[in-house]
Amino acid sequence: MSSAISVRQLTKTYEEGPAGTLALRGIDLDVSAGELLMLMGPSGSGKTTLLSIMGCILTATSGSVQVAGKEIVGLREKDLPAIRLEHIGFVFQGFNLFPTLTAGENVELMLDLKGISGAKAKKRALELLEQVGLGGKYGSFPADMSGGQKQRVAIARALAGEPAIILADEPTAALDSHTGRTVMEMMSELAHTRGRAVVIVTHDSRVVSFADRIVRIEDGMIATSVASETVPAGLLAKTQPQAAMSLV
C-alpha cells in the first residue's frame, strides 16, 4: 500500500514561556491508503498536535511531513487550506456541525468549498446522507438530531470533499457504546472498502479492535507502534469490525 501520510523526524515546539514547550520529538510515522490507524496516549502526550500537523492546521518546527506525496513542512500558511480541502476530511469529537444549517446544508457547505453548488450540490448531499443512513434528515437541524446522527452528518460532510485522508479526533467520545460502534464501523468501511487513510485519535479502548495499527504516543514520542493482531488482549474489544452499512 502507498503512503498517504509520511512523517519523518517531526518536531514541534510551542513558543510559550522563555524555554518553549517541546510537544513532539522526532516522530517517524507512515499511514497507508486503506489503513485505519489509531493514535493513543495520555492527555498532553502530543496526539492532537500530531493530528493537527498531519491535517495541515499546525505547522511543524522541523522534520518532514508528506501529505498525498506533497511536502507540507515549509509551505506558507496561506497554501495549507488548499491541501486540506484537496486531501483531508475531518471528523471531530464535538461534531462541529454548523447549528444554523440543516444536515443537508452542512454537507453542501463542503461541496461549495469544492466548487459544487446549486441543484448538483443538493443532489450530492442527499446521496451522501443516504450513504450514512440519514436519507430523510436533509432538512433537520443538528439540534434536533442525536449524537450519533450528528457524527454521521459530520462523516458525510467529510466525505463530500472526496478526501484521501480522514483525520478524526475522538469521534466516539461523545457517543454511547452502540452509536460509537456504528460510527467506527463507518470509519472502518472508509479505510478498508474505500481505500481512505484513516487516522483516529482516541482514548476509547472499546474501539481499538477496529484499528489496523495502534500507535501510542508518550511525551511527544512514539512509545509503541503495533498491528492490531499484536495489541495486548486487554486493549482489544470483544468483536472485530463489521460494516453495518455500505458507504459505496
Binding site: T48, L51, S52, G55, I57, L58, K78, P81, A82, I83, R84, L85, E86, I88, F90, F92, Q93, G94, N96, F98, P99, T100, L101, E105, N106, E108, L109, M110, D112, L113, S117, R157, G161, D169, E170, A173, A174
Partner: protein, 374 residues
C-alpha cells in the same frame, strides 16, 4: 454558498436584538450629534443664507452679523451708483429688549427690512403676510418663540426697546443661534427699536445684475464707497458661523460632541459586531479546518456585518426621523439633510465592516486546538 451568514445572524434572536440595538443606538447617536452640529451651524448664518443678497456691506471689521456697527445710510446712494448693482437695501440686525405682558424682559434681535423689496424678507410665513409689516409698529416672529416672548396670537401688542410693537404674523423654523429670537419689522421700526438715528443703518445688502461678476462688483464697491467692508454672502456667512462655532465655546462643544458621537457609535458597533463574530468563532475554525480559504470566511463575516448594517441603518433612521421631527419644536434643531442621511448609510456600513475586520483578524489566528476540542 449555503446561507451561513444569514442563518448565523437570524438564528439567535436575542443576539440579533443586541447587535441591532447597538447599531441603532450608534446611528441615532451620530445622527443626533451631527444633526445638532449642522442645525447650529445652519442657525448661525440663517439670516445671511436667506437674505437673497449677493453682497453685504458692513462697517469696517465687523466680525459677524450680530455685531453690526452703524454707519450713514447715505452710503446707499453711492452703492446704487456702482455699475453692476441692480438692487441695494438698508438692513438692520440688532439686539434689543422685548417686554412681555408680565413685565419680564427678553433679549431679541430685530431685523429691519424694506418691506417692498425682496432682500432679507422673513420666510416660511405661516400666519399673516410680509406686507403686513408695512403697518405701523408691526412685527413678525417665529412660532417657536411664542412662549418665550409671551405671545399667544396675532394682534397682541408688546414693547420693544421702549416702543410699541404689534404682532402681525408668525414664521416657522426661523431659529436664532443665540437665545435671542429674530423679530422682523420694517426698517423704520427697527431704527426705533434698536435706538439708531434716522440716518443710520447697520448693513446694506446688494444684488448684482444678472450676468455681472460678483467679485468685480465687490471690487468696484470697495473702490467707490469709503470706510466699509464688502463681503459676499458666502464669506460673511462663513465668518459668522466661524465666530459662533469656533470662537465661542458653544460651537466647539457641539463639534466635540459630534466627534464623540462618531467615536462612541463606532465603538458600540465594533463591540457588538465583534461579539457576534466571536459567538461563531468555533464555526469559523471548523470552516478553516475544512479547507476554506480566509477569503471564504471573510465573505461570511462581511456578509453578516453588511446585513446587520442595512437592517440597523433602516431601524436607526426610522428612530432618527422621529427624533429629528420632534426636535423641530424644541429649542435646538437637529437637521438631517439628504446627503447626511445617505452618508449615514455608508458610515453605518463602514462601521460594521470595519468592526468585522477587527474580528476577521482574530479568525485568521484561530488556535487549531479550538477546532479539536470537544
Amino acid at each position: 454558498m449555503p446561507p451561513l451568514a444569514q442563518r448565523n445572524l437570524f438564528h439567535d434572536k436575542v443576539r440579533l436584538t443586541v447587535t441591532l440595538t447597538g447599531i441603532v443606538f450608534s446611528v441615532v447617536l451620530i445622527v443626533v450629534q451631527l444633526g445638532l452640529f449642522i442645525g447650529f451651524t445652519t442657525a448661525t448664518s440663517n439670516l445671511i443664507d436667506h437674505s437673497g443678497a449677493d453682497l453685504w456691506i458692513t462697517s469696517k471689521n465687523v466680525p459677524y452679523v450680530e455685531q453690526g456697527v452703524a454707519f450713514s445710510e447715505r452710503k446707499l446712494n453711492q452703492v446704487r451708483a456702482v455699475p453692476g448693482v441692480i438692487d441695494a437695501q438698508k438692513v438692520i440686525a440688532h439686539f434689543t429688549q422685548w417686554k412681555r405682558h408680565d413685565g419680564g424682559q427678553e433679549s431679541v434681535q430685530v431685523v429691519g427690512i424694506n418691506v417692498d423689496d425682496r432682500l432679507e424678507r422673513p420666510w416660511n410665513v405661516i400666519e399673516g403676510r410680509v406686507e403686513d409689516l408695512k403697518s405701523p409698529d408691526a412685527v413678525i416672529l417665529d412660532e417657536l418663540y411664542k412662549q418665550k416672548l409671551g405671545v399667544k396670537r396675532v394682534g397682541e401688542v408688546f414693547e420693544i426697546g421702549g416702543y410699541r410693537a404689534r404682532v402681525v404674523g408668525f414664521t416657522r423654523g426661523i431659529r436664532s443661534f443665540t437665545t435671542s429670537p429674530y423679530v422682523f419689522t420694517s426698517f423704520k421700526n427697527a431704527q426705533d427699536f434698536a435706538g439708531l438715528r434716522e440716518d443710520q443703518t447697520l448693513f446694506i445688502l446688494v444684488r448684482v445684475a444678472p450676468g455681472a461678476d460678483v467679485e468685480r462688483v465687490r471690487g468696484a464697491l470697495l473702490a467707490h464707497v469709503a470706510d466699509v467692508d464688502v463681503l459676499t454672502s458666502a464669506q460673511f456667512g462663513r465668518m459668522t458661523t466661524f465666530y459662533w462655532m469656533f470662537t465661542t465655546g458653544a460651537g466647539v462643544a457641539v463639534l466635540i460632541a459630534a466627534v464623540l458621537g462618531l467615536v462612541v457609535g463606532f465603538v458600540v458597533v465594533a463591540q457588538t459586531i465583534y461579539a457576534t463574530t466571536m459567538d461563531h468563532i468555533r464555526e469559523y475554525g471548523t470552516l478553516k479546518a475544512m479547507g476554506a480559504p480566509n477569503g471564504y470566511i471573510y465573505k461570511v463575516i462581511m456578509k453578516q456585518a453588511a446585513i446587520s448594517a442595512v437592517i440597523g441603518y433602516v431601524l436607526g433612521m426610522f428612530v432618527s426621523v422621529f427624533v429629528v421631527h420632534g426636535s423641530q419644536k424644541g429649542g435646538a434643531a437637529i437637521l438631517m439633510p439628504t446627503p447626511m442621511a445617505v452618508g449615514m448609510f455608508f458610515l453605518t456600513l463602514l462601521m460594521c465592516v470595519g468592526a468585522a475586520l477587527v474580528s476577521v483578524n482574530k479568525v485568521t489566528r484561530i488556535d487549531p486546538a479550538m477546532v479539536f476540542k470537544g
